[in-house]
């Protein structure tokens, strides 16, 4: 780390420039206390390279739009502190997420990611109109607990970028879409739980998972998509004898 005017030193930051073809461009960025990787990227765009393309919105770990590859690992950059990833030498290498088409620099096209949510039928099918009273759902029921365990996904695609099977098999739905399907299969209010189960266990679905656990390892909000996918596998086998969905 080199000295900076405030005495805290400079980070050496390599940033991917271009699309599939491109190169790393190195920037010296002032190191600050409590600085996040997103702060670093924003500093570069505002002070060094206005043409740098990247994506972010909320900056507080809710919107899931700022994920990038940082020193080889997919991370949510707004909640990743530089001090945790840069090491003693103050070096960062920032690239776009794996397994998604690149648009420019650090921005990737999330279309395949969200199309697979639809293929997995990752959408709620209502059974009541807004004129009817709310459905009573016991938070203590095993199904609701299973749904709650996976419901906080922020759609950041970190798990999708971390998954080896997604990299091998372009048909594979990926951890996030299957995790969403698992929450719906366990949602007693959903009107087509069997349809969700069948969509999630069709070709490229839950049975393609190798249980590597990379999604669990990298999920920034601590979800366990692998457990949900294992649940989908079990339910799809029970569905062969008509007992997949209660």
């Amino acid at each position: 780390m080199t000295a900076s005017p405030d005495g805290q030193g400079c980070l050496s930051v390599e940033v991917w420039r271009g699309r599939d073809e491109g190169r790393f461009q190195t920037f010296a960025v002032p190191h600050r206390a409590n600085q996040t990787v997103l702060d670093v990227v924003t500093w570069i765009q505002r002070h060094a390279e206005p043409a740098l393309a990247y994506r972010f919105a909320c900056r507080v770990g809710v919107c899931g739009s700022c994920a990038m590859t940082v020193n080889g690992r997919p991370r949510w950059t707004c909640r990743t502190h530089v001090s945790k990833v840069a090491g003693a030498n103050g070096r960062l290498r920032i690239e776009p997420l794996r397994n998604l088409p690149r648009i420019k620099d650090l921005a990737v096209d999330l279309t395949p990611f969200f199309e697979k949510w639809q293929r997995a039928q990752g959408r709620f099918t209502p059974t009541r109109s807004r004129a009817e009273p709310l459905a009573p759902v016991s938070p203590e029921s095993p199904a609701r607990k299973a749904a709650d365990a996976g419901i906080e996904c922020i759609n950041c695609a970190v798990c999708y970028a971390a998954c080896d099977v997604v990299g091998w098999d372009p048909d594979y739905l990926g951890p996030a879409a299957l995790n969403r399907a698992w929450t719906l299969v366990n949602d007693e209010r959903d009107g087509d739980r069997r349809g969700v189960l069948r969509a999630a266990s069709a070709g490229g679905g839950c049975h393609s998972c190798h249980t590597h656990g990379s999604c669990v390892e990298h999920c920034p909000v601590g979800l366990n998509p692998t457990a949900g996918i294992a649940g989908l596998k079990r339910r799809s086998l029970l569905d062969l004898v008509g007992r997949g969905v209660p």
Binding site: D171, S201, G205, H207, K233, L237, L240
Partner: protein
């Protein structure tokens, strides 16, 4: 066949194969270390319903298990997809079953 059925078949045959493979490997060690000749081995296996059932089950399980696994590997690591892959793997299963049945008959059937 649906992915769920293929998954079930592959896991079920793996459960069957695991103990059978261990017994088979143990048997090889016993036969080699014990110095049994081919004639002595055939003397024990010919006409044996037990060994016929053991290796018959082994062949059926392997003929189902291997093509499903190979299909997954090919699907993940090559561009080969679709019905032609499924047909080719079904033919591989039949080939394994045929070759295995021939071997079982050779050691179990009376001369």
């Amino acid at each position: 066949m649906t992915p769920a059925r293929l998954y079930l078949l592959q896991r079920a045959t793996a459960l069957i194969l695991a103990p059978l493979v261990l017994v088979h490997l143990g048997l090889i060690l016993v036969a080699v270390e014990g110095g049994l000749t081919a004639a002595e081995i055939l003397g024990r296996t010919r006409g044996s319903v037990g060994w016929g059932a053991f290796y018959g089950l082994f062949v059926v399980a392997a003929a189902i298990h291997a093509p499903i696994g190979l299909r997954n590997v090919i699907h993940e690591h090559t561009a080969w997809r679709g019905r032609s892959l499924g047909v080719a793997m079904a033919m591989l299963g039949l080939l394994l079953a045929g070759l295995g049945a021939r071997a079982v008959i050779a050691v179990v059937a009376a001369p």
